[in-house]
């Protein structure tokens, strides 16, 4: 190995995921400790901790480029893995690493920049004859210009942040009367999230599927794709369930879309892991949306059906090694589905559920993979993304993977906070989902109830309430269900913390 150590500039489950592969490769793993979660579970998985918890900076630790670079120099770090989110798609950070002779585990700053700017990315796609949705050529100046373009291509249209991703700065406009308000909202959201209010506009396809291709490149001009993932189960453009392969693709279409994805990667001399996202309409026409120049949250489903360790391939190709296989070697076996377990209250409109996790029990089986960032006693803070773990199931076919998922989710216990598990069970019991009839508006259009429960659940709940109440009346402490023992954080403290955000 040309490098001896690796700094993970990230937290949560992905930090643990990266640490596992890095250790397997014999690297010494460094992690960053923050004041926001000084006892986080991921810190137990690194060899050495770089302590940022005394930091008084206003800028969040994992976004503080100069602080990370300077710490990396102090600790003689050879390579930095940014994970996803945070600095993973920040071209300047990749450039700073290069300047300081630290290996950035990701593509070149140039590729990040070009693909990160959706306007440039679209120009590249056009140049290589990759199908695109009709829309504005470049950014839209104001809502009046947006109205003009929308008039030409027809409603509905979608406004998107030029620098965006992850659903932020995105608004669907159904008719001209909504344009001014939606433009204002999308633009201010884009400004807040990406420090860039620029928007572009495109035709909005109703009920499309979200299909993305995992691509890989090395520094010797070799490119492969590892098949597709379908991520159509989304809420407000945030993915919740992802699977590989997709029930919508034939082998022929897979080859066609895969070739398009590889063409995009080759156009920017891409190396390491990337994802090319497409929309697929009801007539199986596909349109290029964007390329994500990082490892994706949902990479495990691809790992499960291809057998490759994507983090390992990322590190090896960043080091300049050749891809150890070619396109013909890539075989897709079976079916994998990933469920994002978020600390969210599904019944309360998916609002964040914060606090201390009392107990975590995940099932164990060869068909289940758990990528978790939490353990007993972990605290869900308001400072970070709500995803706390991912449950991935495998099956010989889609039906098996679904059955395994139902069993696994029913055996999972996470107490102390609310999670998206009841939501996932509701999706898994939905006939259209089981039939593979997915689209990106699935949650709003195909689901009557967003959580799953058994017929007896309500009676059981009533019994528990009465049991506890009666025990208290009897003043018999031994009988009282000790639910408070795990709740050292009182709602008062939490409220205070939120208010000081």
């Amino acid at each position: 190995m040309k490098i001896k150590n690796l700094l993970i500039a990230n937290r949560g489950e992905i930090a643990i995921r990266i640490a596992n592969t890095a250790k397997k490769l014999g690297l010494k793993v460094f992690g960053i400790k923050t004041s926001k979660e000084p006892n986080a579970y991921y810190l137990e998985h690194v060899d050495e901790i770089i302590d940022f918890s005394e930091s008084q900076e206003e800028i969040p630790e994992f976004l503080d480029i100069e602080k990370i670079i300077s710490a990396a120099k102090d600790y003689k770090i050879d390579a930095i893995h940014p994970g996803y989110g945070f600095l993973s798609e920040n071209a300047y950070f990749a450039q700073r690493c290069e300047q300081e002779k630290i290996l950035f585990i990701g593509p070149s700053a140039d590729a990040i920049y070009k693909m990160g700017n959706k306007t440039i990315a679209k120009q590249i796609a056009t140049k290589h004859n990759i199908p695109l949705l009709q829309g504005s050529l470049g950014n839209v100046r104001d809502y009046r210009e947006a109205l003009q373009i929308a008039e030409k291509i027809g409603y509905p249209v979608i406004l998107k942040a030029a620098a965006g991703g992850g659903g932020r700065g995105m608004r669907i406009v159904e008719n001209p009367s909504q344009m001014e308000k939606m433009f204002k909202m999308a633009s201010s959201e884009a400004e807040k999230a990406f420090k860039d209010p620029s928007l572009f506009l495109e035709k909005y396809v109703r009920e499309p599927r979200h299909i993305e291709f995992q691509v890989f490149g090395d520094k010797h001009g070799n490119y492969v794709h590892l098949g597709e993932r379908e991520c159509s189960i989304q809420r407000k453009h945030q993915k919740l369930i992802e699977e590989a392969p997709s029930s919508a693709l034939t082998e022929e279409l897979r080859q066609k879309m895969g070739e398009a994805a590889v063409k995009i990667a080759a156009a920017v001399n891409y190396y390491t892991a990337g994802t090319v996202e497409f929309l697929l309409d009801a007539d199986k026409n596909f349109y290029f949306m964007e390329m994500n120049t990082r490892i994706q949250v949902e990479h495990p489903v691809t790992e499960m059906i291809t057998g490759y360790d994507l983090i390992e391939l990322q590190i090896l190709t960043a080091l300049g090694e050749k891809l150890p296989f070619n396109q013909n070697d890539v075989k897709l076996n079976g079916w994998a589905i990933e469920f994002r377990i978020n600390a969210e209250d599904v019944q309360g409109g998916f609002s964040p559920s914060l606090g201390k996790i009392a107990k975590v029990i995940f099932p164990k089986s060869k068909n289940i993979r758990i990528d978790s960032g939490i353990t007993n006693g972990s605290i869900v803070t308001p400072y970070f993304d709500s995803m706390i773990a991912k449950l991935i199931t495998y099956g010989e076919n889609r039906e098996n993977a679904i059955q395994n998922a139902i069993n696994a989710l029913k055996r999972t216990v996470i107490s102390g906070i609310k999670t998206t598990i009841p939501f996932h069970l509701a999706v898994l019991h939905n006939k259209k989902f089981v039939n593979g009839e997915l689209h990106t508006s699935f949650i709003t259009k195909e689901m009557d109830k967003l959580y799953y429960n058994e017929p007896e659940d309500e009676l059981v709940a009533a019994y528990v309430a009465v049991f506890d109440y009666a025990a208290e009346l009897e003043n018999d402490k031994s009988m009282i269900i000790n639910f408070q023992k795990s709740r050292e954080i009182s709602p008062w403290v939490l409220n205070k913390r939120i208010k000081s955000l």
């Binding site: 659903g167 932020r168 308000k181 909202m185 201010s188 959201e189 807040k192 999230a193 407000k236 209250d345 019944q347 309360g348 409109g349 609002s351 964040p352 914060l354 009392a358 107990k359 029990i361 308001p382 993304d385 029913k410 216990v413 996470i414 107490s415 102390g416 609310k418 999670t419 598990i421 009841p422 959580y451 799953y452 429960n453 058994e454 007896e456 659940d457 309500e458 009676l459 059981v460 709940a461 009533a462 019994y463 528990v464 309430a465 009465v466 049991f467 109440y469 009666a470 025990a471 009346l473 009897e474 003043n475 018999d476 269900i481 639910f483 939490l494 409220n495 939120i498 208010k499 955000l501």
Partner: protein
Amino acid sequence: MKIQLKKTKDEFIALSPKDVKYKIKNPFGEEVIINKKKQEIKIIEEDGVTFVIYNNKKFAVEIFEKNQNKYEIIVNGVSYQFSVESPISYERKKYLSKLQQQQKIEAVTAPMPGKILDLMVEENSEIKEGEPLLILEAMKMQNEINSHVSGKIKKIYVKQNDTVAKDDVLVEIEVS
């Protein structure tokens, strides 16, 4: 288990906000009677998790919140609210709710913790159902909070850039 009942009456009523009623007799007994039917139901602890065994099924349960006789119980990840009443307090509650007149003031509360980005209404302005009141930013997403009633804005409790906790009252609307 044998418990000498002292203060507890032998019947309790668990009442949900949607007026679903469970009459439960003898909750600690071998034979619990729920809505006049004998049920085999019991509570066990396993690996630090509380389970209810019922109908040969195991339900992971948790008391999520409690405040006097008001409970939020989670069963298999799904939340249920109940107030536990005695037959006497239940009758009183029914009587009181009949007396209570229809509320004219509606409070709009924060559905999640976050920050107020923009206020779209002023005090004393008219609002129609479904129209936006304000923008609340939470977990990096902007959420439009709409009025669920038509009426007049009576009081605004927040201003731009305020951070709010879940269930904080944001706006009060006089229903027309």
